[in-house]
């Protein structure tokens, strides 16, 4: 006899319990009890917590926890069609961008792409040291045959970072202009940042076909967009009040003030956000290999799945190298901006 049967009997709910009885599939503990033969004996000090499952044992009308999780799943499945109908066409360009960029980066021969990357690095960092470091790192990556994986990873990060900045900066600006929006957004941003990265993938797998690249694209962007939003908001709120006042006193309109004063003065903070966004995109692109994102993450996954220790470790080191490259290059360009506007 289950522990809480007496409770329901005492409250006169027995009829309701039996009425609403619905037999779902057997739980593991029930199966174990059955296998042992007979009911589970419970001593007085072993009284179970009145959880859904335990109450269900006493009264079949109470749903089990498993009913709840499957209810969540069912609810999601119910809105899935509608969500898909809206989101699928909206996000389709993301697939095109990711596939296109992967194709482009893959199609350019290495002896064109590597010099191009180095020129771009020098253009943004204006630092020979950083450029040299990037050159050596890429030669190493190519030498150990990780070139194409690294370039795939880079191409995904490139697309996702550009999109994050494209969406994140305007959202951040809007947040800085409206206290209400800021109050509303901060819990969402907190959630996006703390939700375990694997959890992102689960609803996305349901929504989109696993073979589509937008699946991992969305996961990466949702995860990586947070810092650039936060720091754009912060940066614009931190712009010197006196300078804003001067802009007002000379009759600037809102647009002139935004593009002529606020964004330029917030740029160091925005760039710090971009740097963080790049790093978070890199972190996520490795995890996204679980849902078919190509690149170095695939090798890590292979290392785990097949216990190929060497493959996993070497690709791990390559990811670190890529992270250092991205961090150094974005930091160098950040410090170049900082130097031009000390006050």
């Amino acid at each position: 006899m289950a522990t809480y049967e007496g409770l329901f009997d005492g409250m006169g709910l027995r009829a309701w319990c039996d009425d609403g009885a619905k037999d779902g599939p057997m739980t593991m503990s029930e199966l174990l009890a059955k296998a042992k033969g007979g009911e589970l004996d419970t001593a007085w000090y072993d009284v179970p917590f009145p959880s859904l499952d335990n109450l269900h044992a006493a009264c079949k009308a109470v749903p089990r926890t498993r009913d709840m999780t499957s209810g969540v799943e069912q609810a999601f499945l119910d809105v899935k069609a509608a969500l898909q109908f809206v989101l699928d066409p909206l996000t389709q360009p993301l697939s095109w961008l990711l596939d296109g960029s992967l194709f482009l980066f893959g199609a350019i021969p290495w002896w064109v792409l590597l010099p191009l990357i180095l020129v771009a690095v020098f253009a943004v960092s204006r630092s020979l040291g950083v450029t040299l470091f990037v050159a050596v790192s890429f030669l190493f990556l190519s030498f150990i045959d990780h070139y194409s994986y690294s370039v795939q990873t880079l191409s995904i990060i490139f697309v996702c970072t550009v999109l994050s900045v494209l969406f994140g900066v305007p959202i951040g600006i809007a947040m800085s202009k409206s206290d209400g929006l800021q109050r509303g957004m901060i819990p969402i941003l907190d959630m996006l940042q703390t939700l375990p990265s694997f959890v992102y993938l689960i609803p996305l797998i349901f929504l989109f076909s696993i073979t589509e690249s937008k699946l991992y694209g969305i996961a990466i962007i949702l995860y990586a967009i947070v810092p650039v939003i936060r720091l754009t908001d912060l940066g614009i709120r931190l712009v010197d009040r006196d300078v804003i006042e001067a802009a007002d006193a000379f009759g600037m309109n809102a647009r002139q003030k935004l593009f002529g004063v606020e964004i330029p003065l917030a740029l160091p903070n925005i760039m710090a956000g971009v740097n963080q966004t790049i790093m978070m995109a890199l972190a996520m692109v490795v995890i996204a290999s679980l849902v078919s994102a190509p690149g170095l993450g695939v090798l890590v996954l292979r290392g785990i799945r097949n216990l190929e220790l060497g493959v996993g470790l070497v690709s791990g080191v390559c990811i670190v190298l890529l992270a250092v490259i991205l961090d150094r290059v974005s930091k160098a360009s950040l410090s170049r901006i900082n130097a031009s506007q000390k006050s």
Partner: protein, 354 residues
């Protein structure tokens, strides 16, 4: 100087707080700043301010911190909105202006110089100086040409390509002044423009401003907490305390006839010999012929320079000349009497407090 004021402020009230309109009547009834805060939780910023700002004159608004002077100057270009009252620029009430008209006013009619310079750190000196013209939508070439002229005028030739952080405080404020002048607005608002500078640089900048004003005849509203600076620059001096005007007049007049103990204390500390001028203490001739003058002094000379001429001898009297013709007599005894502040003789608030 013309008689028609450029800007007239009429019965201006400013109350800071959640519901200023609700306590406006109490403020009008004469409730003070402290009582207002204690009883109603509102801060009385400005109380019944009426000032005429003369065309082509320097009007100095002076007061200690918290007296509302910075609040007042920001009402002129409506960086702060008044609770009640009128601000007439060339006879038109700017408090009724909509957003677009207000921008026009700020772009074309008024320029401003700030205590902390407030230059754009990411723009060069040249771009900063030309900011007003760029805001109006004029071409970069026109803005740069005008900016170059004014930068030369304030003594910054050769610094056009520098960034503000590469300049000293005094030079940054020269850029601030060049920026205000480049806008070519007839009214210039200067909010404690020299307060952040070293004393020597400050004297320099005051000289520069007076020199520019001789040619330009702008209508300047200058805010300061420094009486020496106020007396040096002012054509018209307004003294603020706790948000109301204690006294406003020609500075020499205030110095010789302080309206209340607060101002007596204020003026008791300054070097009167350097500020007072012969015209304020002389006896007019009224057609008489100057007799037994020991020498001649100028109408606008400071008393300090007369003392230098006299060598400290108080027995003499001097003929006062204005543009070469005698207009009065200056007895050295009157001069010495004028040097003693009234407050010191009958005991002002400061001497009682000590």
């Amino acid at each position: 100087m013309s008689d028609k004021p450029k800007v007239r402020i009429r019965n201006l009230y400013k109350i800071f707080g959640t519901d200023p309109a609700s306590v406006l009547d109490q403020a009008k009834a004469g409730l003070g700043k402290t009582e207002m805060l204690e009883r109603h939780g509102h801060v009385l910023g400005l109380k019944d301010i009426s000032i005429d700002i003369g065309d082509g004159e320097i009007t100095v608004i002076m007061g200690l911190s918290g007296s509302g002077k910075s609040t007042l100057i920001r009402h002129l270009n409506r960086l702060i909105e008044p609770t009640e009252g009128e601000i007439l620029v060339d006879g038109i009430d700017v408090t009724s202006y909509g957003e677009e008209e207000l921008r026009q006013l700020r772009q074309m009619q008024m320029s401003m110089v700030f205590q902390k310079f407030a230059l754009l750190p990411h723009r060069t000196v040249l771009e900063n100086a030309g900011m007003a013209l760029r805001v109006r939508g004029e071409s970069a070439a026109a803005a740069d040409a005008a900016a170059t002229t004014w930068l030369d005028r304030v003594g910054l030739t050769g610094f056009e390509g520098h960034y503000p952080h590469q300049l000293s405080g005094g030079m940054q404020q020269r850029v601030g002044i060049a920026r205000a002048l480049t806008s070519n607005a007839p009214i210039m608002l200067m909010d404690e423009a020299f307060s952040a500078l070293d004393p020597l640089i400050r004297t320099d900048m005051q000289g520069l401003l007076l020199e520019l004003q001789q040619d330009l005849h702008k209508t300047i509203v200058f805010i300061t907490h420094d009486l020496d600076e106020a007396l040096k620059l002012a054509d018209h001096l307004v003294i603020l305390k706790d948000g109301y005007v204690v006294q406003q007049s020609e500075p020499q007049h205030i110095l010789l006839n302080p309206a209340d103990p607060y101002i007596e204390d204020f003026v008791s500390d300054i070097n009167r010999a350097r500020v007072l001028r012969v015209r304020s203490v002389m006896t007019p001739l009224d057609g008489r012929v100057p007799a037994d003058a020991a020498g001649e002094v100028g109408y606008d000379d400071t008393l300090e320079s007369v003392i230098a001429i006299s060598g400290g001898d108080t027995a003499h009297a001097y003929a006062v000349l204005r543009d070469g013709t005698p207009v009065g007599m200056l007895d050295m005894k009157d001069l010495v009497r004028a040097l003693v502040p009234r407050a010191a003789s009958n005991g002002g608030m400061l001497s009682r407090a000590v």
